[in-house]
């Protein structure tokens, strides 16, 4: 007989109460998902709606009177791409530097033979618990001459002690015999670290690099404090400035949309401009998220397992 193939599966069939639980969980999570996505849809819709509809509150979850002028204005008349470039540089360079410093610090500290490792570890713990304060940090940044540079945005996070301890703990869990074999084969410390230890630690390094990347991308405060020119603004600062100055932006564009002294409907308003800036700023993160989602979940759990 055809069409009566039985598939063999390892799944344990769910009981009735469990199936009800799964259904309820799915419904509840769907509702939560929608609650989370509706505000996002509202913002995106405003970015693409006619300004007059936005002002009148006639935009909910779908563009009302589709237009691209607001987005076009954000992309061409504001410093969006400068901010994006700055964010990407800080994000990429910062993550790279942080990973180098974290690995090279965690590796020696993970070796029992390293003299003074307890004292050095203690110093890291102390600096993790007690922060020197923003004013001394600011003075250090100015004194060493990196104020208003990319370095000022990167150096405060060059090594995050918590991340370093996670990596150190992971390194401590690696079998010592593998490293001994490498050394017998003639590998030095650096070669052992690069060719043996790091490849074996890919999961933790991927997760930590993601944590650093998120920190750099979301950083607002340090960029605000340690830079003073609009050319150095990252996306987070740019967004705040657009929100703060949306009115003056819209004023200028609005007047530019006059024709022969008669007003025609302006498509760009303060609210629409803010929505467009937020929407555009979200695109890089949304594009990246599917590729790093796996590591984010690991990142949430790794601290509890290893930390």
């Amino acid at each position: 007989m055809t069409g009566s193939k039985k598939t063999i599966t390892n799944k344990i069939p769910l009981g009735k109460s469990e199936r009800i639980t799964v259904v309820i969980a799915n419904i509840v999570l769907t509702i939560f998902g929608l609650i989370a996505i509706f505000p996002c849809l509202h913002v995106v819709s405003k970015a693409f709606s006619l300004g007059t509809r936005v002002t009148a509150g006639q935009v909910l979850f779908w563009p009302n009177g589709f237009q691209l002028e607001t987005v076009n204005y954000i992309l061409t008349k504001t410093s969006f791409f400068t901010a994006l470039k700055n964010s990407l540089i800080v994000f990429a360079l910062g993550t790279f530097i942080s990973m180098i410093t974290t690995i090279t610090t965690a590796y020696p500290l993970s070796k029992p033979a390293f003299k003074g490792r307890k004292v050095i570890s203690l110093l890291y713990v102390i600096s993790m618990v007690f922060f020197g304060g923003i004013i001394p940090a600011y003075m250090v940044i100015r004194t060493i001459g990196i104020y208003n540079t990319y370095w000022a945005c990167i150096m405060p996070f060059a090594i995050v002690q918590f991340n370093m301890f996670i990596v150190k703990n992971y390194f401590e869990g690696l079998p010592e015999s593998i490293e001994e074999s490498a050394k017998i084969d003639g590998a030095g410390d650096i070669r052992t670290l690069v060719s043996i230890v790091c490849p074996m630690s890919k999961p933790v390094l991927a997760t930590i690099s993601l944590l650093y990347a998120i920190t750099y991308w979301n950083n607002y405060f340090h960029v605000m404090m340690y830079t003073n020119s609009t050319e150095m603004r990252t996306v987070q600062l740019y967004l705040y400035d657009i929100i703060n100055n949306g009115q003056s932006f819209a004023e200028n564009l609005y007047s530019g949309m006059y024709s022969g002294g008669v007003s025609i409907s302006p498509n760009v308003t303060t609210d629409g401009m803010v929505a467009a800036a937020v929407t555009m700023s979200l695109i890089p993160i949304i594009a990246l998220y599917p590729f790093v989602q796996r590591f984010m979940i690991q990142g949430i759990t790794i601290g509890s397992v290893k930390g």
Binding site: T52, G57, M139, N228, T230, S248, S255, Y258
Partner: protein, 507 residues
């Protein structure tokens, strides 16, 4: 040997004296092309160094300038840290509070000699009162004033649906408080609950001529124009002590009780009021130039209205026919120079050159960016005016105030909606009822201890009291209790300072 030592000491002292005399002289100009000035300004959304205004100012002054801006958040703290950290800005453009803080820190350079040598146009372009307010007791000037560009503007007004008002049988825009009340009642009788009759935003109150809980166009009908006012005899009294305060609160309470006010007033924002007005849900709304700029086009497109269907209600007269609205004369920004600046002379010279070229820098070229109309007023040519001078406001450090007061309205005129309201309210009031404008006697008052310490909290308690009365949790009969608390919480100390200032001005 002793003689030699004495001689050496005398020589050293003479040398030191010569050096100090030399350093007291006005520094020489390095001149355009020999120095790059650094200028810090307030928060702004665009890239200040990539803006078209950079080239325009370079063209007018010859100076290369690098621009910096403060963040939107924690601007005061950032400014102080920059200054304390040895920032090398040549010009800092700050608000009044920031200037006062820098003054208190002793961070600013006295400018008298520099202004005499290189800033004659700036000196001539501002009033003696403005200079006095930016000076210490010894007459040392520590800041360059950039005054609010229009000293007599009714900045807060009410916009209304004239088409709906006419349909309800209202024959003219209300100009008195009684007419206004009758208008609201007539609208309520005619439309019932179909529309919000009168909407407005709740704004966190601030002292002086800033945000109030009460619409200023209504308060002026009750003789109230500021938190602190001055009687004819020079005595200073608080808003709650004004004879019109209780009647004003009773009037607003009456409007609320009769359903004439937006029930959401206390939670409204500017944005929600604009939304209600432009979507056709409200008939009258508290507004301002920025408000009508977005509501007017929205009403035209969504409700098919024309300018003939929209009206503007200005400062209302009281039952006795009087009205008091405070002039908007105030410091917009103050430009100052740090003691550590190495290019102070060029900084003043640069600002002076900008004042000399004020029309070109701020408004543009006649025939290209603007024309003069029949009345001699500046009519901007759009869109080039907006595209090539729209951002000039951020680059202003000093103005020739009388000239800028004439030039500035063109910046409003670039927007038809703003100009319609400005014309109907401010220009009309200036021409027809100039007597309503009352000077702000404290505009140029230097910072004082009790005022700085108490006034904000006093105004906050006033705001709370008004809201409590309007919401019914307290009554106007509690005014005496409020007044007593107010006096015990620093009110009398502030009054004493203000009265002393008024006396000092009269001397």
């Amino acid at each position: 040997m002793k003689k030699m030592l004495s001689l050496a000491l005398v020589c050293a002292l003479l040398l030191a004296l010569l050096v100090s005399v030399a350093s007291a002289e006005v520094p020489a100009l390095k001149g355009p092309g020999n120095v790059t000035l650094k200028r810090l300004g307030g928060n702004v959304g665009f890239d200040v160094n990539a803006n078209y205004m950079v080239d325009i100012i370079k063209q007018a002054t010859g100076y290369d300038v690098e621009y910096f801006s403060l963040p939107a958040q924690n601007a005061d703290e950032k400014l102080l840290m920059d200054v304390a950290g040895g920032a090398d800005y040549d010009v800092i453009n700050v608000n009044v509070n920031q200037w006062r803080t820098l003054m208190a820190q002793g961070a600013l350079m006295p400018l008298n000699d520099l202004l005499d040598a290189y800033g004659q146009d700036i000196l001539a372009g501002n009033s003696a009162d403005a200079w006095k307010a930016l000076s210490d007791k010894d007459g040392n000037i520590y800041g360059v004033p950039y005054m609010y560009p229009h000293s007599q503007e009714i900045a807060s007004f009410m916009a209304c649906r004239w088409d709906l008002m006419q349909a309800a049988g209202i024959e003219s825009i209300p100009t008195t408080i009684d007419e206004f009340y009758s208008c609201l009642v007539a609208l309520k009788d005619y439309y019932g609950d179909e529309y919000i009759i009168f909407s407005g935003p709740y704004k966190p109150a601030s002292e002086g001529n800033e945000n109030w809980v009460i619409p200023k166009t209504i308060a002026c009908a009750f003789g109230i124009y500021s938190d602190w006012m001055v009687a004819d005899d020079g005595s200073v009294y608080y808003m709650t002590e004004a004879p019109g305060f209780a009647p004003m609160i009773e009037f607003l309470t009456k409007l609320n009780n009769e359903g004439l006010l937006d029930p959401d007033w206390a939670v409204n924002t500017d944005s929600t009021v604009n939304e209600k007005f432009s979507s056709g849900r409200a008939i009258i709304a508290c507004s301002n130039r920025a408000g009508v700029q977005v509501t007017t086009p929205a009403q035209m497109e969504n409700l098919n209205l024309t300018y003939d269907d929209i009206g503007y209600i200005g400062a209302l007269k009281g039952t006795d026919g009087t009205c008091t609205y405070m002039r908007t004369e105030a410091f917009n920004q103050i430009s100052c120079i740090l003691r550590s600046s190495k290019n102070a002379a060029d900084a003043i010279n640069w600002m002076n050159l900008k004042v000399q070229n004020q029309l070109f820098i701020c408004i543009g070229v006649e025939g290209v960016h603007f024309n003069y109309d029949d009345k001699g007023m500046i009519q901007p040519i759009n869109p080039i005016f907006a595209n090539e001078r729209g951002d000039s406001y951020w680059y202003i450090d000093a103005t020739n105030q009388p000239a800028y007061e004439v030039q500035w309205p063109s910046r409003i005129r670039k927007s038809d909606a703003q100009w319609a309201a400005f014309n109907a309210i401010t220009i009309k009031a200036t021409a027809e009822t100039p007597e309503i404008f009352v000077p702000n006697r404290f505009t140029f008052m230097p910072a004082s201890e009790a005022f700085t310490k108490y006034n904000t909290s006093l105004f906050k308690s006033l705001q709370d009291f008004i809201l409590q009365v309007l919401s019914g949790t307290r009554t106007i009969d509690d005014l005496a209790t409020f007044q007593s608390d107010w006096a015990n919480n620093g009110g009398e100390e502030v009054r004493a300072e203000l009265e002393a200032y008024i006396v000092s001005q009269a001397e």
